[in-house]
């Protein structure tokens, strides 16, 4: 019995030792090699624009490395709530930002920096001849939308409610990326995504705008986080997003001002 206990104790020591060793490894990463790392959690739809803004930020701040974690806004909020080491959070909608502020994790008030509207994406050549939102409800059209549980899906639902056009989609996807993938592969005749997604997809899809999209405008808020390693640096990043540089990059990608 005593032997077994000593084995367990040895195991505990071993575990503790490896754990500390891992910790040491972590801090000898690029961060402590003479510089600081700023960690930004941003909605997946901001991937391209925020990487550009990050490069601008690194140019302005010597020795600072900006690291991103892009994902679904609700996933990111959940991770931050579980203690993920984030300094800045940019959400694709106000609902998820509200979740974060309800938990009291923000350093100041979230500020809106961009907005996005829905657009219909169709494969090149528009084989199903989609010209309006109402066309999506035709029985022979394979239309793919986001599930109502995710922001792009609830925006689509708002448009449906406002127009009285009830869609019967062949699939309700998890994210705009999934919707877009079904359109670019030609599986779907049309998908409802954001203006910026159509822009980013380039020649892979064609966009069909529709006036009813104004019924569901998505606002993107950004905030520095309370537990940021360097509060000033986090706020400076937020300021860059809100300032001229951020606006220029976001507008080039198709985002509108909030």
């Amino acid at each position: 019995m005593a032997r077994r206990l000593s084995l367990l104790a040895a195991a505990a020591v071993f575990l503790a030792a490896t754990a500390t060793a891992c910790g040491d490894d972590g801090s000898t990463g690029p961060g402590s090699a003479g510089g600081t790392t700023l960690t930004v959690y941003a909605a997946a739809s901001l991937t391209t624009t925020f990487q550009q803004i990050g490069e601008e930020f690194e140019k302005e701040h010597d020795g600072v490395t900006v690291e991103f974690s892009f994902g679904g806004s609700s996933d990111l909020v959940a991770q931050i709530q579980e203690g993920a080491p984030a300094d800045v959070f940019a959400s694709a909608d106000t609902a998820n930002m509200d979740k974060l502020t309800a938990a009291g994790l923000q350093a100041g008030d979230p500020q809106s920096f961009a907005s996005n509207t829905l657009e219909i994406a169709v494969p090149p050549g528009n084989p199903a001849g989609i010209a309006s939102f109402a066309d999506l409800a035709k029985s022979d059209v394979n239309v793919v939308v986001c599930a109502p549980e995710v922001p792009c899906g609830s925006a689509t639902q708002k448009v449906e409610a406002a127009t009285g056009v009830a869609l019967s989609p062949v699939s309700e996807e998890q994210s705009v990326t999934d919707v877009l993938a079904k359109v670019t592969s030609g599986e779907a005749d049309a998908g409802v995504v954001y203006v910026t997604d159509v822009e980013a997809a380039g020649d892979d899809v064609e966009g069909v705008t529709f006036p009813e999209s104004s019924e569901a405008v998505n606002t993107y808020p950004v905030v520095a986080l309370k537990d940021a390693a360097d509060a000033d640096l986090a706020q400076q990043f937020v300021d860059l997003v809100l300032g001229d540089t951020g606006r220029r990059i976001l507008e080039e990608a198709g985002f509108a001002q909030p």
């Binding site: 609700s74 699939s171 309700e172 996807e173 998890q174 030609g186 599986e187």
Partner: protein, 283 residues
């Protein structure tokens, strides 16, 4: 005694006979120091499961798992997993038999190719299926001409599951076939039994335990399938949204529901493995 058990036996040693009595109770002396890594391994696997159970909100558990969406996902998962397991058996048993019993140049290469779905990220598997059976895929136009549309259908879910689960069945059955050897088959054939009779009367009964565990593995893998399904089949309640897809979607708005459903999936998996174990030992 199963073949796997046989391989655990130590080679004959002078003390073998004197140990015979002890062995009947404890077949082998496992080195003591193995307990520690084994314990750590078990903890590593079990603790996350305990964590999930601890996260369950029992007050709302039953209303969460009996919601319309949950029930639809549950039945769809069971139906599609059963169908894909059947497909794995029908297509995988002949494949395993050929791989185990035939010898031809390129056999090793063929075996590696068949097992590729094991290492392929499921999303890539889904893309591969899309490029094959999708509307613009290799076979898509021919299928379209026949009036068959695979995309966004329950068939697509079964195909995705079969694709990722097949290697599990082939691998474990091929292993069982090789361990069983072909002595009895050779004898049966020499006594004049035609190949089909040998297959039906000798080979299949001989490797039935291996086939059952392979089928269980395939079913379990199908039940948990996510990446290939969401890429190839899409996600629509009652048609293509299986339990893993429903869990992933519920996480967006209702983490409690996701955890409750995850527990359901866990229980089903444990039941399936338990029943199969029981059935296997009874064989």
């Amino acid at each position: 005694m199963t073949p796997a058990g046989a391989s655990w036996r130590r080679p004959a040693s002078p003390s073998r006979n004197s140990r015979q009595a002890v062995r009947s109770q404890r077949p082998v002396d496992v080195p003591r120091w193995l307990f520690l890594p084994a314990l750590l391994g078990a903890l590593f696997v079990l603790l996350p499961l305990v964590a999930i159970v601890a996260k369950v909100d029992w007050g709302s558990f039953f209303s969460l798992v009996t919601s319309e969406g949950s029930r639809a996902a549950f039945w769809l998962s069971l139906r599609t997993s059963a169908a894909s397991t059947l497909a794995c058996v029908v297509l995988g048993v002949p494949m395993a038999l050929l791989l185990a019993r035939w010898d031809f140049p390129g056999l090793g290469l063929l075996r590696s190719l068949v097992l590729i779905p094991l290492v392929l990220p499921p999303v890539v598997g889904g893309l591969a299926l899309l490029y094959t059976f999708g509307r613009r895929g290799l076979l898509g136009e021919s299928l379209d001409a026949l009036g068959i549309q695979v995309a966004f259908s329950t068939i697509a879910v079964v195909m995705a599951q079969t694709f990722v689960a097949m290697p599990f069945l082939v691998l474990s059955l091929e292993g069982a076939l090789r361990t069983a050897g072909d002595r009895f088959e050779v004898v049966a054939a020499s006594l004049g039994a035609p190949p089909t009779t040998v297959f039906r009367r000798i080979t299949l009964p001989l490797v039935l335990p291996g086939l059952v565990s392979g089928a269980v593995l395939a079913f379990a893998r199908s039940l948990g399938e996510f990446g290939a399904t969401i890429t190839f089949a899409g996600s629509l309640q009652g048609r293509t949204r299986t339990l893993p897809l429903e869990i992933y979607l519920q996480r967006e708005t209702d983490p409690d529901a996701a955890v409750a459903l995850a527990l359901v999936l866990l229980v089903v998996a444990v039941l399936v493995i338990g029943v199969a174990r029981h059935g296997r030992t009874a064989l």
